[in-house]
Each structure stands twice: as C-alpha cells, then as structure tokens.
Symmetry: C2
Subunit: 559 residues, 2 copies
C-alpha cells in the first residue's frame, strides 16, 4: 500500500487555512499515486483546541471541515484524519477525540480514542468520552489498526507502571491487523523523539507488523510539536522519518496484507540535544508570533546572556530586520552592559535603540518619597527599575505592534529572581523552561562558528544590575548547584530529604525550596513560555497560591 503521511503545522481554529494545506497534501498524494493520506490527531481543529471545544459552533465547524475532506476523497486518494466527533448518547462527555476514514466521497469509518491523557499539559478527560472498544478499519482489503496518540502509550511490556487499564494496540492486534497507524499530536521534550521511536519499535516487533506514526508539527502556545513522524518495520528497523520541526509530506510503500516489499531502513537520527532545543525554541517563537497575527518583536537587551540568547532565537525565527533590541540602562548599569548589548545587536543585524530609565526612576522615587519617608531602600527600589523598563518596552510593543519577548530563564523564574510586571512583562517567555546552565550551553552552540554573542557576555558573572555591584550569587547559590535542586523539586517532585541525599547542603536546599514555593504567585501571572522539559512552568504545572508549603519542604534529616 502506498501512503502519504502528512506532517503539517496547523493553527488552532484556522479552518480555511488548515483546509488549504490539507487539500494540497491530498493533491500531492494523488499526483504520486498514493492510496491513502494520513493526517494527525484533531487535524480538523488543530491541537490543542482546549475550551474552544465547549462551543457547539466550533464542533460544527470541525465537522464541516471533515465533510470537505470527505468530498475531496471522491476522486482522490482516501483520507484518514483526526477530528472531533459528537457523542450521540445522553450520558458521558459530549465529545470524542476521533479518527475518520474518508473514501469515495464519504466518511466510511469512525473510531474514537480510548486513552485520554489527563496530566501535565493534557486535559483530555475534560472534554472527551473514551472509546471502550476498538476495531480495525478495513481499507482496500487491508485491516488497519488505527489508534490516536496516547492509545499507543500504555504497552505493559514497555512501561514499568501503567496509567490505563487497557492496551488498544494489543486489542487491535488480537483482531488481526495488517498495518498499524497512529495519528498523534505529541509535543516535544528533549528526550521525546527517541522515546517515541523505541516505543513504536517495540509495538512493531511485538505484533510483527509495520507501524506508522504521524505527528503534528509546529508551535501552538506553550507546546512545540516536533514532527518526527516515523515508520517502523516488523523487524524494528526505522523505515521512514519525517523532518524535525518542519512540515513534511512523507510518501511510503509498506506491506499491508499485500505483497509490497519493506522499504530499506533510514540512517540513524543524528541531531543532538542542544540542536533540537534550539530548533524547538525557534519554531515555538516563530509560530507563537505568526499565529498571534504579529510579525515583529521587541526585547530588552541587558548585556547579559539570557537576553542575548533570546535575541538570537528571535532573529532566527522572525528575521533580524523584524527584531528590535533596546538597551535600558540605569545609574547602576555597567558600561560594558550597554557595549555588550550594542555589539550583540550589531552582530545579529537586529534593530537597536538605547533609552535611559533614569529620569523615570527618579520621578518614581520623587513621587514615593513622602510615603517612604524613614524607610530604607530594599527590593522595592530594584523592582521599580525593572517596572520602569517593562513599561517602556510595552509602550514600544503597543506603538509598533511588536510582541515583547520576555527573557527570563527557568532558574530565575523558579526562585522568583525576577520582577512581576518588570522583566517578567511580555507576550512570550521564550526561555522560561530553559535552566541557566542550559542557556550557557545554547549560547556556546550559537557561537560555535563565530562570535555572535560577545565573549564578555559569556564570561562575566551574572548580575541583575539593580544596585551597585550586585551579583546573582549574592542571593542565589551558583547555577550549577541551583539548577539540579530546581529540577529535583519541580520536575521530579522530590522531598527536601531526598534532595539533600543527593549531596546538597541542607541549608541551601531549604532556601531554594522556600524560594520556589513562595514565588508561585509570580509564576501564576507569567507570560506563556515554550515548553521543552517534562515539567515546565505554565499550563502543565498547577499549584495552589494561598497555601502553606512549609510542612512539605521540611527536612527530617538532622543537620
């Protein structure tokens, strides 16, 4: 059987634009003699549609989209696509996350997803009723074992513990299947492409069939879909691979109850972790801006490494001529900060402006002087400077219709080493899931061929420059210590005791955990950030605010 796997970049709700893309893929399939075109999960709406699913009109638009695809299939190849189906019964959730096979101008089969991810960023139980049985779809005499994303993530032989009680792939295999197809919208994290490959290979080998896996590509808010569609043979060899972080139309001939020979294996994937993270962030940034209807960005350049890396990502994603970097020095800024910011902008070819905040800061201090009489300066005055910058950058964003990019990293967002409405202001937090140590590695990778980020930005000790001589290490442990503690608590949910047992100073652990807990209120109001780790701050991490975390982080170990 000849198939076309359509790895496309959908905008949620953009029915017409998405249809145009899908129709072009179908046309490509026709031109190449394919029997079947396969689109990804919820291709009719784009994934994730979230609470748009609560609008009946949105469901109707999605069903109209399916009808348009069915009509296409009248004189073209058949189409397998994800869509939202209605649950006809009065009991249960109103909707199904479903797949339809369109052939000869009609919808000839519908199947619903069995396993509904409801963890991290996923809320599928919120919307969908699960299928309770599965059945192969017969197409041109072949029995297709069609599953949807999470359906393939519950193999008892692959996972030590399982979230679900059923294994739809096994249930399909028990009914005889000639070819497995999974349609997915599986977002990127650094380890995901390899994990998916191993998991699908295990299914292919266990059931001795080819297994095709079609993933969405593109950034949708916090989520970055990496593509990386794959096809695995019954012997576990990788037979095809979609591009990473790009659209791709992958034509393939695979056996499906017929005598199609197995294609040769593709060479092993060579991309490294840093490369993937960089590509993911560029895609996420580009798509967030584009799908928001914008085309340009502004950001503050402090001369530090975070804003330098974000500027590089923005120039790559949008084009250097669509990025404006602004240096916003104060009385506490060092001379090299402005020089480094300017050098970076010059190296990248982005726009550059300099606006001093000193007049505004002085006006703030003057206005507050009668109310602050007799009080010592503290973090309040530091925050004022950050907020003066935030307001100026937002003014540029408002005046020129450019998105303001926030440049804070995961480490500082974790411990609240950032100012709400100040440096946290912006439409997208590009590296808020990137720990500081990884920011350095990204910077080194950016500079691999030539110096784009100035050497002094790379080597100077990190500082917020909000008071004379300030260094990050005045308040925080070194990032090589901070980052693994943050990861242990935020991503692994370890206790203070368990973190101390990894060899960290108990007092440092206690202080870091206290900072993480007590800054939840800042993160609640943070800009959406691009997710690259298993647990990013944002929609996938949901903590109470007015709560008491002290017992949770208490150590039982003797000091």
């Amino acid at each position: 059987m000849r198939l076309l796997l359509a790895q496309l970049n959908f905008t949620v709700g953009a029915f017409d634009d998405n249809f145009t893309k899908m129709a072009a893929a179908v046309e490509h399939a026709r031109a190449h003699g394919a029997d079947l075109v396969v689109f990804s999960e919820l291709a009719t709406t784009g994934y994730p549609p979230r609470d748009l699913l609560r609008h009946e009109r949105f469901i109707d638009l999605n069903l109209e989209q399916l009808d348009r695809l069915a009509a296409l299939s009248a004189d073209r190849p058949a189409i397998l696509t994800g869509f939202v189906d209605r649950n006809p019964r009065a009991t249960g959730k109103r909707l199904y996350n479903a797949a339809a096979l369109c052939s000869g101008g009609r919808i000839v089969a519908r199947r619903a997803k069995s396993l509904l991810p409801t963890y991290d960023v996923f809320d599928e139980d919120r919307y969908f009723e699960p299928a309770t049985t599965v059945e192969p779809i017969v197409f041109k005499g072949a029995r297709l074992g069609v599953t949807i994303c999470e359906d393939v993530w519950n193999d008892r032989d692959f996972w030590p513990s399982r979230l679900y009680h059923r294994d739809p792939v096994e249930e399909l295999a028990d009914q005889h299947v000639d070819l497995f197809i999974n349609i997915s919208a599986s977002p990127f994290t650094a380890d995901k492409p390899d994990l998916r490959r191993r998991m699908i290979a295990q299914e292919a080998v266990t059931h001795r069939r080819c297994f095709l896996y079609v993933n969405q590509v593109g950034g949708n808010d916090e989520l970055i879909f990496d593509g990386h569609s794959i096809g695995i043979g019954p012997d576990g060899r990788e037979l095809l691979r979609g591009r990473s972080f790009e659209e791709d139309l992958i034509l393939c001939d695979v056996p499906a109850g017929d005598d199609t020979p197995l294609p040769p294996a593709v060479p092993p994937l060579e991309s490294g972790e840093i490369e993937d993270v960089y590509a993911a962030l560029v895609l996420g940034l580009r798509d967030y801006v584009r799908k928001s209807g914008l085309s340009s960005a502004v950001l503050g350049l402090s001369g530090g490494i975070d804003s330098a890396v974000v500027a590089c990502l923005a120039a790559d994603a949008l084009g250097a001529d669509r990025v404006l970097g602004v240096a916003l020095p104060s009385r506490y800024s060092s001379a090299h900060s402005v020089a480094d910011a300017e050098a970076l902008a010059r190296n990248l070819g982005i726009g550059y402006r300099l606006v001093s905040i000193d007049g505004i800061y002085q006006a703030q201090l003057d206005a507050l002087a009668p109310l602050f009489e007799g009080r010592e300066p503290d973090a309040t005055e530091e925050n004022l400077q950050a907020r003066a910058r935030g307001a100026l950058l937002m003014a540029l964003s408002n005046k020129f219709g450019a998105i303001l990019l926030t440049t804070g990293n995961k480490s500082e967002l974790a411990v609240g080493y950032c100012t709400l409405y100040g440096d946290m202001a912006g439409g997208l937090a590009v590296i808020s899931d990137v720990p500081k140590t990884l920011v350095y590695r990204l910077a080194a990778w950016i500079n691999r061929d030539r110096e784009i980020i100035p050497a002094s930005t790379m080597t100077k000790p990190p500082s917020a420059e909000l008071r004379p001589g300030q260094l990050d290490t005045d308040s925080l442990p070194p990032y090589e210590v901070l980052d693994p503690i943050v990861q242990a608590y935020v991503e692994e949910h370890l206790s203070a005791d368990e973190i101390v047992a990894r060899g960290f100073d108990p007092a440092v652990v206690a202080d870091v955990l206290r900072r993480i807990d007590s800054n939840e209120y800042k993160r609640r109001q943070a800009a959406p950030g691009l997710k690259i780790s298993p647990t990013a701050f944002g929609i996938g991490r949901r903590y109470p605010l007015a709560a008491d975390y002290r017992a949770l982080r208490r150590t039982t170990a003797r000091r």
Copy 2:
C-alpha cells in the same frame, strides 16, 4: 445516631493548623455525646491541593494526618474524614480521593470516590483513580452510605443529561443504607446553595432516608467554599443547615437504623443573591490574604465604582485599619475623582494617600520621544499612565508587605478594557468575576443604610480618565448591553448567531466577541480572581492564545 458535622475552613497544606481545628471539633463532639464526627472532602490536605498531590511527601503527610485522627478516635467519638489514599496497584492513577472511618483508635474502613469532576475548575482525573464499586460502611450496626462530593451529582432523575455512567448513591441504596452521608468541597456560585438542597432532597426522598451533606467552608485561591452543609429528611424537609460563609459545628440526631426521631425542620433559607455574593467576596478576599501569610491591602482609588466596591469589601474583610487607598491622579483626572476617592476613604475609615503620576508620565514621554517621533498618540500613552500607577502601587505593596488588590470587573476583563501590568497589576482580582451591572447592584446594597460610596461615584458615567473627556461608552456598548453578550459567549458558549437571535445588534455582537477573543492574552496573565459564576476567567476557563477565532465568531445571518 448523634453526629457532629464539622464545616471547617482549611488551609491547603497547613497540616498542623488544620489538625488543631479538627481535634477541637472532635473534642466538641465528645463533650456533646456524639457518636461520629464528619469532616469534609480531602480534609487532611484542604481542598484543592492541586499538583501538591504529585509530591510523595505530601501524600505521606496526609496519611500521617489520618493516623493522628485515628489515634484521636481511641477514646473519643468515631471520625469520618476525607483523605488521599494511595492506589496499591501498578496500573491506573496513583491516588484515590477517599474517605476513612476511624474508630477505637484505628482506621476501620476506607472508601474511594467514584465520580471525578474534570471540568471547569476541577481536575480530579489528573490525580485520582476512580472507585468502580461502592459499599456501605457499617458503624454501630448502622449501614452508612458514604459518598464524596461529585458522587451525588449524577442522579438520572435530577439531570437531563449525565456526565457519568454510574450513580453511586443508587448503587449504595441497592445494598440497603440506613443513612446517607456526603462529604464535599463544593465551591460557591450564586445559584449553588439552592441547587444542592434540591438535589440532596431528591436523593433523600427517592431512597427514603436521611441525607447529610458536609461541605468545606472558606476561600482557597479562586474558589470560595460557602459551607451551607445540610441535612434532609426522608420526606424532603430540611432538618439542619450549616452557617453560610462561616465555620460551623452542627450537632444532630438523626435516625440511622435506630429509633432516633426525626428532628424538626429548619425555617427556609432567607439570604438573597446580592447578600451571598457580597459575603462570598469578603470571605474569599479575607482568606486569600490570610492564607498567603499577609494581613493588609493596598489599592488604587480612581473615584469610580469598581475601586469603591473593592475598598468596601477589603475594609470588611481585613478591617479598615489594614487597608490603604491611594488616589493616583494624572493630568486627565477630573477634580471629582480625587474628591470621591477621598470621601470614600473617609466614609470607610481606611488609610488614604494621594500620589500624582504626572512626573512619571512626563518622564516616560520624554524617554520615548525620540523613538515615537512622528507617531500620533494612541492607546500606548493611555497604557503608560496605567502602568505608572501599577508600578507605584506595587512599590507600596513591596515596601509595606501589603497585597495589591486589583479592581477590574468581569465586563472590562472580558473585552480587554484594561491595561496589562497597569490596572491589572495585583495579587488578587477581587471582582474579576463580577459584571459591571452586578458591581452597581453590590454598590447599592453596600449603601443600603447609609452613603458609604459617594453618590457621585454611583451616578457619574464610567470613565477610565486616560485622555480628556474619555467615557467607557466611547469604546464599548452600554453595560446593560455588554454584560448579557459577555455572559452568552463566555458562560453559555453561544454562537454569534444565537446571541444576535436574542435581540442584539449584529455589529455590536461582532465587535464584543472580537474583543473577547483578542484579549485572551491579557487574561492569561491576570491576577487570580474570586469565582462567583459558573464560568469565571481563571483556572476554570482554558483557551488557546495563538489561535484563529474568526471562524468561530462569524455570523451566518444576513445583516
């Protein structure tokens, strides 16, 4: 049987404080000869614990709390309480939302929740494995039909369509039950107390048994638990009622397979909608501040009705001496604005200061002048003023450790008639779920006995005063038109056609819906707000940002 229903106000994670409260209730029960004390859902952790449930240490602390309660029961009344149980199996979610009966110093029965709400603000499928069967708990010869919150919300005779396939109450009734008990954490919305009463009455009458319903009370972040615990007799009469918006220990004698006579019915509930909403907001505000470890508040007083109502709520919740109102006039502020702000502060007895933003605004304009050359003034300059105010208010918050209260209402948050990092800045958005028309009704109710909010605040046309002569109606339809359109789209998810069919001008509907959709990015960064409606902005409403909403709101009707 004599029971004590303990309607308590828990802080999530405050194990020791919560235990002290529970122990006092058990002591009260002992002193009054009760057989059984009943605590609400997840009483060991406080509800909702959200992602704290991902920490094994948190689960352990909750189990230790249960052990402490069990120990209490050694020489005191038995205890029925909600807690988090572990799922011992390797398949399924790791946890149960559970109830335990402690008696004679031991845990003698455990039951898990069957129906897990996963909609609106609820994410229970994210954490919990559902029970698949139910069984009465035998206590002192009586068969207790114990259910947990949502378990009672799926009666086929009460609801036209049902979210779940099972009815745990019916399943228990089929096994013979002498007394039904539901332990809940059911948050307030304006219609909820009456709905719960009718629903429980239907169960009691259907199964001809007393039905006791114990609810949590208190504010936990966005959610306000109203208490309103109830007991209904087999004849549908209301036999007992817990206080609304306050802790209560309700002692009651009810038949439970024994010859206890039915108590007399309580008189019908008399509180009105406005009274309830006001009380809910006061409780939500007080608890958010207190449970955040704070005790005082600051807010901007514009002379308008929104900030006036929030100031009244704050004075009521925290005490007038813990509230500071700040007038922040600019060159565009009318004289009466400052006079009204000052009069309000005087009427309430709260602190009052005046800080002009003109120096800061001028410094901002000066700093930006070279970059804005040749550009006309627009919303950018209006936002600058709002952000100058936000920064000053946050400085007061930072310097004095007082929470900044945001004063925006639901109508303006819906259409984005507000400035991110400006008037949207703050730790709690007190009335962000209160439409403007309801703000007026609250104000009238506040002034029912004497003028607290100045008459001119009540009568002048609403204005943001960000440019000369500006009125809200320059940009928006009148609030009597805007509010029902917002409600139809945001709460009822109606289409543009359906809203127009209610009699609104198609052009107005199109404009309002466009504003709602295109301001989702502001709401994503909004302060948490107190929920009083079925659909509040916040954790219970989840929309994509970089998406295309145009098809959704398109009308098919001819103009």
